[in-house]
Symmetry: C2
Subunit: 258 residues, 2 copies
């Protein structure tokens, strides 16, 4: 069973992509809505929560953990891998790999939460592969609350995006990593602002492909079955959370509070 955790609901973009690519795999999701957001918090706090979330998923029978949150992936992956014996897949490497593959100019933008940008993880990961690539990062802390408020088409959201993307506009990037799972919900606005020639990388889609490849290479982790169950747990449930979840899945959602 694939276990996926996130700071809240944004990681459901990853869960949905995995559901679509691997519909026959049982999947369990845990969204830490009671402690959301992680992005503005300290690495130690994010690590503590990530350990707790992983333990929850392992208790429920997960054999493979997906950290569906860029902030947690940025600061907690190493410690989770040291602490737990199951495979831990994070969202940074798949997106970084894809950026490295498709960038022609070697100039890549990354937008994310404060925790993600401050960690420098995208830069490290891309430069480990391609030391000649230039990475330009920008923290966009207000985008998560704007998405959670469903202000996807409001003028204020466009203005705030303009302000955040402004420093990246004259850097001649040809690739922009959406380094937070909430951002794909704003991809139209981001594309319009950053320009058509810049390719956006949605870490949720890249991570789902990575999970599929991983399961092909490690069939012992796979547990395909007809009518595989997909169960969504959360540490809290609010109307806003359910609204965002339903916008992501385009179907009515049930969140089990645990």
């Amino acid at each position: 069973m694939i276990g996926i955790f996130d700071s809240g609901i944004g990681g459901m973009t990853v869960a949905r992509a995995i559901e679509q690519l691997l519909p026959d795999h049982p999947l369990i999701y845990y969204g830490d809505i009671a402690r959301t957001p992680y992005g503005p918090k300290s690495p130690q706090t994010i690590i503590n929560y990530s350990i707790r979330n992983t333990e929850f998923l392992l208790d429920k029978g997960a054999k493979l953990i997906v950290i569906a949150c860029n902030s947690a992936s940025s600061v907690a992956t190493k410690i989770l891998r040291e602490r737990f014996r199951v495979p831990i897949i994070e969202v940074i490497s798949p997106a970084a790999r894809r950026a490295t593959e498709i960038s022609k100019t070697g100039r890549i933008g990354v937008i994310g939460t404060k925790a993600t940008v401050k960690s420098g993880i995208y830069q490290q990961t891309i430069n480990a592969e391609r030391p000649d690539f230039k990475i330009f990062s920008q923290a966009c802390p207000l985008l998560v609350p704007l998405v959670e408020e469903n202000w996807l088409n409001k003028r204020e959201t466009k203005m705030i995006l303009r302000r955040y993307l402004h420093p990246l506009k004259n850097k001649q990037i040809d690739t922009l990593v959406l380094g937070c799972t909430h951002y794909p919900l704003l991809s139209n606005l981001i594309q319009a602002r950053i320009g058509k020639r810049v390719q956006l990388i949605d870490s949720s889609i890249q991570t789902a492909s990575f999970v599929r490849e991983y399961l092909v290479r490690h069939p012992e982790c796979s547990s395909e079955q007809a009518k595989a169950s997909h169960t969504y747990y959360a540490s809290d449930c609010t109307e806003t959370a359910l609204n965002v979840a339903e916008r992501i899945f385009h179907r009515p959602m049930e969140l089990i509070v645990a």
Copy 2:
């Protein structure tokens, strides 16, 4: 010793007002920065955190608890009073009382988080005293993240405020309760938008006066001393949190992580 808790740093506006009115009273503050914000979360989650925060303050020797968070005051006061034997002071009643005193038209606006507005607590409290008064409430969920980002003078903040205050503009209110401890940091913008004739009520100042009155009436809770200590604890510490804290206190702040 006065124990004050908040969902994070906003409640420091209450702590500062208490420090200024009661400088000789030892004070201990606990900001739950690791789980902030409370406003978008469910009542049960806010209650669980409020119990935990109160226990922390009692363990440190608090004899009187101030809930310096409107969201927690709205949904957790009753349960904290049932559970703990110390006096529990919340931020709603002092602000509601002041609104009742000063409103001439009996038309009062309240802005706050989703949790506070959904609870209907200001309406209940004011109407218990003055059933003839009309209360108009508006949730303003993006104001907390905007204040935490220090976007106090940005055009986007003004536009978002305009959008939130618009429904209150034609209600002929003469009084507006700032029903969230972050909002006093935006009071100039709010006053400009809602109009000079509307009186703003800052719950932090009202609550500090209420605490002072309470201690006069209950000297057994008082513990005045020269050079009283004021200690600030938090469940997490980030640069953003320290910045907001220093903006509130106009002095360098130390947060002890516990």
